[in-house]
């Protein structure tokens, strides 16, 4: 399978950081062999919405791009937190994009077949709350027809929905792809099953990863709703009871499971909202290891990793990833933190 940047996802690399500080560089296909019988892998099965909508700010007649960034209310799924941009295409880096036209509460936006109303301006010129006119089914049909996945300037060709749905994607709930899940395929899940490594999923509304604006980025991640199925909660609790490890595929899984954690390491099933950041001093009650992309200091995803590894180790990892030319973007390589296994013995460890 060819990646959007022309590379082959099957040739992706996996950097393993073990709990004792050992590190090594493996082909990502080795993921199928890394965990122990009894371990439970938990992924985010959210599918990605076509959350980028180009259209017109009706009062000014000027072009606007709306990126849906968060659900305002699960009971009214036509209302969103959104980020607005002015003229410019996906090839322009987000940080270089023009500001949106001056917005006021009540302004109408025409976004292809959809019409939306600005309900509230938030305390940043790009940030607003909006509501689509019509019911949820009408809105979904309009998104399906006119919406595009949020694009990345580093990807030369426009991304289609099939590019941003992971193989396990089940329900459209995320605004950007839960990209750690691109490391999974059905062959890997089959290999885990054969080795008695468990696999289950939560659904978490992974939000925008970066807006290009440092002030806005410092507020990420926004509050993100999630759903933990009964069976997933039962499997996590059973794994913790028997002393098996919980491996999260992606930071969104860490957020959901830790938000739903009880002090004893069991998790509450059902709907919830993950609020706040996980950082250095956040105790991890559920998750033992995390597979994620290559993140840089300052990103909220990097901050979350400080709950898994101390700063000295993270600095060593960053240096090694740079030296080994690991690819940092959403469709790039993977890093597995806090693996309790001798995966690096015999590999080219550092």
């Amino acid at each position: 399978m060819t990646n959007e940047d022309g590379s082959d996802r099957r040739l992706a690399r996996l950097f393993v950081v073990e709990a004792d500080g050992m590190m090594c560089d493996l082909p990502r296909t080795r993921l199928a062999t890394l965990f122990n019988p009894g371990d439970l892998v938990v992924a985010n099965d959210a599918a990605t919405l076509p959350a980028s909508l180009h259209g017109t700010h009706v009062p000014s007649g000027k072009a606007i791009e709306i990126r849906l960034a968060g659900w305002l209310s699960l009971s009214d799924p036509t209302r969103f937190v959104a980020i607005a941009f002015g003229l410019g295409g996906h090839r322009t880096r987000t940080e270089d994009r023009l500001p949106p036209p001056a917005l006021s509460t009540g302004d109408r936006l025409r976004l292809g077949p959809l019409e939306a109303v600005v309900e509230r301006l938030l305390d940043h010129p790009r940030l607003l709350e909006l509501r689509f006119k019509g019911n949820r089914a009408t809105m979904l049909a309009g998104l399906a027809q006119h919406g595009r996945p949020i694009q990345y300037a580093h990807v030369p060709e426009p991304l289609a929905l099939w590019d941003v749905w992971t193989k396990i994607a089940a329900r459209p709930f995320a605004f950007e792809a839960p990209s750690a899940g691109f490391a999974l395929d059905w062959r890997t899940l089959q290999a885990w099953r054969q080795r008695d490594v468990g696999f289950t999923a939560i659904t978490h509304a992974a939000g925008i990863s970066s807006t290009g604006d440092p002030v806005l980025d410092s507020r990420l991640p926004f509050d993100e709703p999630y759903r933990i199925p009964e069976r997933t909660a039962e499997e996590v609790t059973r794994a913790k009871l028997r002393g098996s490890r919980i491996i999260a595929i992606g930071t969104s899984v860490v957020r959901a499971l830790e938000a739903a954690a009880n002090p004893d390491g069991s998790v509450r099933p059902g709907n919830g909202t993950a609020t706040g950041r996980i950082a250095q001093d956040t105790p991890l009650r559920v998750v033992d290891a995390v597979l994620t992309g290559v993140h840089e200091p300052g990103e909220s995803h990097f901050e979350l990793l400080r709950a898994f590894a101390d700063d000295a180790l993270l600095a060593k990892v960053s240096t090694a990833l740079t030296a080994s030319r690991y690819r940092t973007h959403e469709f790039g390589d993977s890093v597995l933190y806090n693996l309790l296994a001798a995966a690096c013995v015999g590999a080219n460890g550092t």
Partner: protein
Amino acid sequence: MQTNIDFQGLRVAVTGGTSGLGLALVRQLTGKGARVAFVARTAANVERVAAETGAHGIVADIGKKDDIYPIAMQVTANLEGVDVLINNASSLGPVPLALLADTECEELEAALAVNLLGAFRLTKALFGALAASAREGRGALVINISSDAAVNAYPDWGAYGASKAALSHLTAIWDEEAKADGIRLLTLDPGDMDTPLHALALPDADRSSLKAPELAAAEIIEKMLNALPARTALPAGGLV
């Protein structure tokens, strides 16, 4: 007659849902209390069937690659997941039916695009949702509608028959592969039915000798229930 508990909360997607067998399936499934989304190409027909049955109508063409993920998105968002996919939409190939030597390459491609690739693509796009349903103990099933033309070498039915034969074999292999994920795939042959597709193929057929699509739909629904785990009260989907 099945009790309603079997259908309460059951989430079914049907392609080709505005005529013939597909329409009968949408009517019967909604009538029994299932949550149904259906796909068809013509907006006016989709609106009519949606208004009549209360099912979610999606205007799209199974034969077009670009339509598949937007379909999957609307199915899984409107139904909050999916337990059963019925790939029913079919293309006859050349109309009127033609000998293979008279069949244009494009006509064969069109039949394959809907009957084989369309079913493959939509199943693949919904595979994650089906696996989620299986993991949650709800069962997950794909029913691919085939024909005896997939088995018998009927002259004039080359494009249609070859595409359905390929679909049957794809289904059998995929069923073996996906069993461990808890997803079952079946091919069902509803028999010769009195449908618009049949009239298109054989305009002079004696309609009294043909099966009513309502009867075929009832048989398929029974087989669908037999292939799903015994249902108690299903957990609600719960997300948006």
